[in-house]
């Protein structure tokens, strides 16, 4: 081997040894690699709620719930909604509109006045007859009264529909009030779960430091904490959404304040047969349908006399320049109902009447179907609430208390306690959801199954119905 190569090799070897020696000389003595473990025990650095999904937190509504002295109440919300919900006003104007139609439909026809010049220039005169005539239509067969009755009856229909709209609004306000209330409670419970997830991470780190958990467990605990933080954010988003929806139903912008109230109800269990009978006999929808049927009957009556001709009488005074004499004029006219005896419209009115009969039946069936669905939800929720109150929650609470006692006595490991509390809290969330479901169903059942408090208030006229315009009849 070349001497120079050998010397280079030896030189590089010496440098390598020297480089190796430097860190050894400067290295501090440590029993174990603490840095690595410390890193494991502190990552991620910041596990606070603000670091979950940073920059996306919904801060539109803020309040300090814990220290709030002002609260919203359900009655306050209902009063506000009665004044401000636009659909309630719409419904009132629907009544006004029908009353106005009734007024219009009963007005007597105005007389006609005409100046008549006939045969102008005959025989060099100004005309055979020039004068003024007054003509009046005499309405027969009580048509105007029937028309007025028809629209007055429609006004009654509109009144029932307005009541229905009030139920829609009030039901929705109640439901969304309870939804917001439930969201508040669920947020509190999710925060309890968050504390438990934080404890789980702290516990896992403690176990890691004692060799009872490994890196896999740490990653899992970190991940679970993040997931729980997202659940809290989700609960925050939910409460804001519910409150904004409630605010919309009330019909005005409301400042966010905590809601007071209790999701539980003191009402007895609703009996299906009783409530079904009540809904079918007292529902505003049913009452409106029956009113509409009466209106359809009036319409038939109205259309049945439409063929009776009105009598149009005219008369006047004029100058006959040809005869150089003042003469009068008189005319009596009436339509001969030879071809058009209103038979088509009459049939249409009759068809409307039958259709409305079926509409009553349809409404009953629809109410039954909605009630069946709602009662199923109600009964299921009531069963859950009852059983959760009597057994599930007390048992889980006792399980948690017993596990705490076991831990206190040094017989049970802390992760078991965390599991017990998590289980208890998850079931409390389920219980809250069932309370909400029961309350919602209860409101709908007691409120004739009406909801949709921001849908346009419906009018008294069903689609496709005969309606004379511009002069209603």
């Amino acid at each position: 081997m070349d001497a120079s190569i050998l010397s280079k090799l030896l030189g590089s070897l010496a440098i390598s040894i020297a480089l190796l020696a430097i860190p050894v000389q400067g290295q501090q003595l440590a029993p174990t690699a603490q840095q690595t473990i410390e890193k494991m025990l502190t990552e991620p650095q910041d596990i606070g709620l603000d670091t979950a999904a940073p920059g996306t937190r919904w801060n539109g509504l803020t309040t300090n719930q814990g220290n709030a002295t002002e609260v919203h109440t359900l009655n306050g919300m209902l009063e506000l909604a009665a004044r401000s919900n636009p659909t309630i006003l719409q419904a009132q104007y629907q009544i006004t509109g029908q009353l106005a139609k009734a007024q219009q439909a009963g007005l007597y026809p105005n007389p006609m006045i005409a100046y008549i010049a006939e045969n102008i220039g005959v025989e060099g005169t100004a005309g055979e007859w020039q004068g003024a005539e007054l003509e009046q239509r005499f309405v027969t067969a009580g048509k105007l009264q029937l028309s007025r009755d028809k629209y007055l009856q429609r006004a009654k229909v509109a009144e029932h529909l307005a009541v229905a709209q009030q139920f829609r609004v009030c039901n929705d306000v109640r439901i969304h009030y309870f939804k917001t209330l439930a969201a508040q409670q669920i947020l509190d419970l999710q925060k309890e779960l968050l504390k438990t997830a934080e404890d789980d991470l702290a516990t896992t780190r403690e176990m890691f430091n004692a060799g009872q958990a490994n890196q896999v467990d740490l990653h899992r605990a970190n991940s679970e904490l993040r997931r729980q933080q997202l659940s809290v954010l989700q609960a925050e988003n939910r409460i804001r959404r519910e409150f904004l929806q409630l605010s919309s139903l009330v019909g005005m912008e409301l400042a966010f304040l905590p809601l007071s109230g209790d999701l539980r109800t003191a009402s007895d269990l609703i009996d299906y047969d009783t409530v079904a009978q009540r809904v079918l006999s007292q529902s505003p929808e049913i009452l409106a349908a029956h009113s509409k049927l009466r209106e359809d009957q009036i319409t038939i009556n109205r259309e049945s006399v439409e063929w009776v001709p009105d009598v149009i009488v005219g008369g006047g005074v004029g100058r006959n320049f040809e005869a150089n004499d003042t003469t009068g004029a008189l005319s009596v006219r009436m339509e001969l109902p030879i071809y058009d005896r209103n038979q088509g419209t009459y049939r249409q009115a009759q068809a409307d009447y039958v259709r409305q009969q079926k509409e009553i039946l349809r409404t009953e069936m629809d109410l039954k179907m909605r009630l069946a669905m709602q009662y199923e939800t109600y009964l299921t929720a009531a069963q859950h609430v009852l059983t959760y109150e009597e057994m599930v929650l007390p048992q889980l609470k006792q399980a948690y208390a017993t596990s705490l006692q076991g831990y206190k006595e040094d017989r049970l490991a802390w992760p078991h306690v965390l599991h017990s509390y998590r289980d208890y809290t998850l079931r409390r969330i389920e219980y809250t959801e069932q309370l909400l479901a029961r309350r919602t169903s209860e409101v709908l059942i007691n409120g004739f199954l009406l909801h949709g408090g921001l849908n346009p208030a419906p009018g008294a006229t069903p689609p496709g119905h005969l309606d004379a315009t511009p002069n209603p009849r």
Binding site: A210, Q405, D410
Partner: protein, 499 residues
Amino acid sequence: MERETSPRRQFIKSGMLAAASLAAGTTLSAQESVDPEEAATPQAGPITSPPVSDGTKKSPVRDEYDGFSRFKPSRGNDPDSDYYLGKLVPGFRTTEEGPAPFIAPDLEKLPYVMKDGAKQFELVAQNVRREFLPGYEMDVWGYNGSMPGPTIEVTQGDRVRIIVHNELPEPTTVHWHGFELPVQQDGSMTLTQNPIMPGKSYVYEFDIHEEGTFFYHSHVAMQEAFGMVGWFIVHPKKVFDPPVDRDFGLLFQNFHIKANQTISNSWSMDWNWHTINGRSGPFTTPLVVKHGERVRIRLLDFSPMQHHPIHLHGHTFWLTGREGARTPKSAWIPRNTELVGVAQAAEFEFIANNPGDWMFHCHMVHHMMNHMVEQVGPRIREGSNVDAYMTNLDQRPPVDMKHSEGFATPGYPQGMQGMQMSEKFMKAIWSRREVQGMRATWPKSVHGLMTLLRVLPDDLYQQVMETDDVPKGAIFEEIVQRFGTPETYQKAPLMKMGH
């Protein structure tokens, strides 16, 4: 033989004055004190009474044998000597007085009647509740209201008749473990007899030609794991020489009982409760002996599947026999720790020549505590307490995510924080006469398969065993005064329980 008056014995005698000074806080008085010279002399008495020294009589025993002293830690001059490590050094009791009474702390003896030339015992198999620790009553199975069952004690050559009543809801049999009996009496379920059905009885009867340490147990495996065992001690016709002053029996068992549960899972492959004669440390009753006595400890491991290396502090003992038979003296071996396997018995003999409170325990780390759980959670967190969680079950306290400084050391914590001992618990622990005068903190160190050997000079023995209300630490401090270095002694901090 006239006993020598050694400097140490003089010290013991003079120490009585110091002991008398304890009277301010104890019931010890000049009238009640016993002259140590007297205390070292054996006294004939009923078999159930421990020997009481009478210094006015001539003692058949000496203080020293070939350099081995019965009153101080010593080995002797010659390993080949009969007296090396106290091997054949007799106790204060003579062979003429018969065998020393067998005492299994915390267990009763099974009475018998003589009938048709046999000692007739009645054994009732039944479920029982046993208080493993104060407040921890466990549901197990045993005999005659006890787990382990009551001790059957007979003499070699006796004929025994044991009528077994089955009050269990399932069949059982009883096996007389170790006896060379007629096969029909062996108690092997279905192999040698039909099962004893629930509500039925069965009579076992056989002659006993063996002597030694035996036991009885159900021959249904799960019933064995559930606690159905008891001592069967056969004293030799010819009392073993050298005679012992104390004959103790310690029966080791394991159970698996979940938290907030009282029923043992006999199917478990894991074991979290450990008992000696049905109690766990610190509820096990210490073995209290007098300074200089010859002591025999019979130890039976009836754990379902755990062997136990048994260790005695402060003494070297001779392994004089296993459950098969007494070992010829030429084969005795001195030990500090002896491994005792499942269903094995071992007999240890030694001279209690080292005063003090000595641990006697299984050396398996996890057997030196009960129901071990991971030491995490509020217990190890600063400013955290589980009581804060119990005040409001619907809301839990927040957790501080910051670590304590201890976490700078990987592996922290290693020290078990220990269970919280309630006042009631501590009162029960201190209620036993045998623990009087021990250091206030002793219950913190005795758990699971642990008990204590207390070696006390006569006067202190009398204080502990015959007087009441001995203050915490008084006896131990007196031993330090007499045998230790009092100038370096630090008192134990009083535990906060007030007992």
